[in-house]
Assembly symmetry: C2
Homo-oligomer: 439 residues x 2
């Protein structure tokens, strides 16, 4: 018999079906047993009259919760049952994989252990309704991103994660032994996606891992995360990149709302909203003025930059003033931007770059890139780089590289913002941090 | 003015347009200049009468081929022009990025330098028509894979690439310094996708990098490649996995044919064919019998395995006998399979596993996995593993893990097979091998 998904049982009333899933709840009464069985599409109440098969009743009473089971039975309409107004009258039950008792923790209890303990038993943690929905939303969001790219003729990239030379600054770099030499893990596909522009691919995207040997212990930093990267040729300025990104994000939000809006309301308890475009824009200078006006003091040691507290304060201000969750902060000073960001011709101390702040969290850095070989080389030298390690990169600009710009977005940070998750550990399949390499 | 793609010029006859692209050919005659300009959608002839603007004519004559340019002009119908039967009468031309002359090599010459030299200048190599089409086909193939998964309710995974312990054998492993400890690069998402089964995700996919410290120098090995991984719960045997994979691949081939069949014919010179299902299946024992019958001698030192020559001979036999490019080789002996492959209950020396051979090249390994905790642990010990390093993995099977199976497929190998590419270096954006970490 073919398996029926629990979410489809309503269409099978009056029929005998086979379902597979996890035993979420067992109420073992004197004459009757009530089971709640769950699969990835929903949960159903299963009812069994013990005297029908005392041996099977005995098997059921010893089943630990969260055991994996396959069962058959008749689907009957029953309006008083809370779970979908139907139940399954059990006929056979096959224990596919018994859960030991007790579980390390009960994923369906109201109180949960610490996030660190949940990470130790992440696969049990992922059985929770919120976790499963988080990754369904991620799946939908990524597919929406790609749909949008495909409609515009983008090419998908898979750039190497092992590099022979450090890609950017050399800081926060993981080093590995590569046969008889050293190599490094890519901190971003930055140089590789720019190579695609020199290759004439014109529009590329990549969703893949990036690595940062960042010793931070915060609710939003990871040593390995999934980066979403875009690069587009023939742009006139960073404004073209922002105009692309805001429409693209709006589309992604709309697709998530269409597919999961109701379930998000039910599971996370809020109305999922699609942002309007254009997103508000402020220059870096204006942002600093705003922060001054609301009394937020930027730490002196990060001159020209905005710290996480400043991002939150700015996000609050934008929310209040424009009722918008997003804000582009543009025109960052060259001191806090990498050498390859293009500079404003009329104000060479500023770059044609932006950050995107969403609900007070930085989720994107973008820019137009400098594509003129001589200018780029000069800017690299100004930043103290030497030609050797970036020779391959500089070569991209020697034989017909179009103007281009792009951005990188952290997938888990976007998910945090979308679903109001307080900790990035809940927005990633398996967290990696300075103290966390398992499971 | 908005840019018009060269592929769309037919719809703009009689209009003034702006195009952007690369100067592929320049014929500089006494009175006229003819340019072939290319973007990612096609090429067009541009014509310019020098006396209209001698200064511009001078700029054009000094332009190196492959320079990036933006130009405007009138689109006119001209049936005698080979490139699409139209041409652009030039008005203005803007040099976005001049190409130095001479180029390291001319990508549009009939004779090309060695593959190693092409890799040094990969971005010029990628401008070739065959290269661009290769990555358009890859993009379409990946989207088709995901479409198929989405229709069946799969969840997308991004598993960590940094691991605290070796995932499988410990051989061919890259080691890295991770703060004050050692870590390893993932050789496959195997353990992580099985964790998704324990998490109740039921059906997952991942497309991401995998790393093998393999010192081989062949036309089909890489130290880093893009793996396509699938894992499915509640399977009854490896047959369920094969039945999924062949239909999925058929769908992918169909989508590629629909989108690129004609261009593949034009650029690669063959008719792109969609494979029929079911694919032929032979057991490992039958495969060895077939190889014996065709006189292929398997190397003695790889007992129970099939070497690359044997794969080619088997592929030829299947092609001749069944006129099919694919063959599943099933039921491999436990000696050549990892501990987690499920064994045949009626013949415990054989595993419920398969390889998929396509045009004589192994592109996939798949299997049903052992999901019974005690059996799995025993099989691990038999293979000489100790519990410590795989404790986290073994724990996945203790609290309700359903039966499951899956496969991994090498994306570049699939592309080699699809497009008859002789070398994997042509089927990957940037090749990584023991001697190759640049660009």
């Amino acid at each position: 018999m073919e398996r029926t998904l629990i979410g489809d049982l309503r269409q099978a009333i009056g029929q005998k079906v086979k379902i597979s899933g996890w035993l979420q709840v067992l109420r073992d009464q004197k004459k009757m047993q009530f089971l709640v069985v769950r699969d990835r599409t929903g949960a159903v109440q299963v009812v069994f009259e013990k005297k029908a098969d005392p041996e099977l009743a005995e098997v059921i009473s010893t089943l630990g919760s969260e055991s994996a089971i396959t069962l058959t039975g008749m689907v009957v309409d029953n309006p008083i049952v809370k779970l979908g107004g139907l139940e399954l009258v059990l006929e056979t039950l096959d224990v596919v994989n018994k859960a030991e008792a007790p579980l390390p923790f009960e994923p369906f209890n109201d109180t949960l252990p610490s996030v660190d303990f949940r990470m130790d038993w992440r696969y049990l943690d992922l059985r929770r309704q919120q976790s499963l929905l988080t990754f369904k939303v991620q799946t939908t969001a990524e597919m929406a991103m790609r749909d949008y790219w495909m409609k515009q003729g983008f090419i998908e990239m898979h750039s190497p994660k092992i590099m022979g030379t450090p890609s950017e600054s050399g800081a926060e770099l993981f080093e590995l032994a590569y046969f008889d030499r050293k190599a490094y893990l890519a901190q971003s596909p930055q140089f590789f996606k720019q190579m695609a522009m020199a290759a004439g691919f014109e529009k590329v995207f990549e969703i893949g891992p990036v690595f940062r040997a960042d010793p931070s212990f915060t609710s939003r930093h990871m040593t390995e995360f999934t980066g979403v990267d875009v690069e587009i040729s023939w742009v006139d300025s960073h404004e073209d990149v922002m105009a692309f990104q805001e429409r693209w994000l709006q589309y992604v939000y709309q697709q998530v709302k269409d597919a999961h809006g109701e379930e998000i309301k039910e599971v996370f308890g809020f109305d999922f909203e699609v942002p309007s475009v254009p997103f508000p824009r402020v220059t870096m200078a204006e942002a600093i003025e705003i922060l001054r006006s609301v009394g937020y003091e930027l730490p002196a040691e990060r001159k020209g930059d905005i710290d996480p507290g400043g991002e939150r304060a700015l996000g609050d201000y934008i929310k209040q003033k424009y009722n918008h969750d997003f804000v582009f902060v543009t025109d960052w000073p060259i001191s806090v931007r990498p050498f390859y960001h293009m500079r404003h011709p009329e104000n060479p101390g500023l770059t044609r770059s932006y950050d995107l702040i969403a609900k007070g969290l930085e989720i994107t850095t973008g820019a137009q890139r400098e594509h003129r070989f001589e200018v780029l080389r000069t800017q690299a030298f100004e930043k103290g780089l030497t030609e050797g390690p970036i020779q391959f990169y500089l070569n991209y600009f020697r034989y017909g590289c179009p103007s281009h710009g792009g951005f990188g977005l952290g997938l888990s940070r976007l998910l945090m913002v979308m679903l109001n998750l307080p900790n990035v550990r809940d927005a990633v399949y398996l967290f990696r941090g300075p103290n966390r390499l398992e499971p």
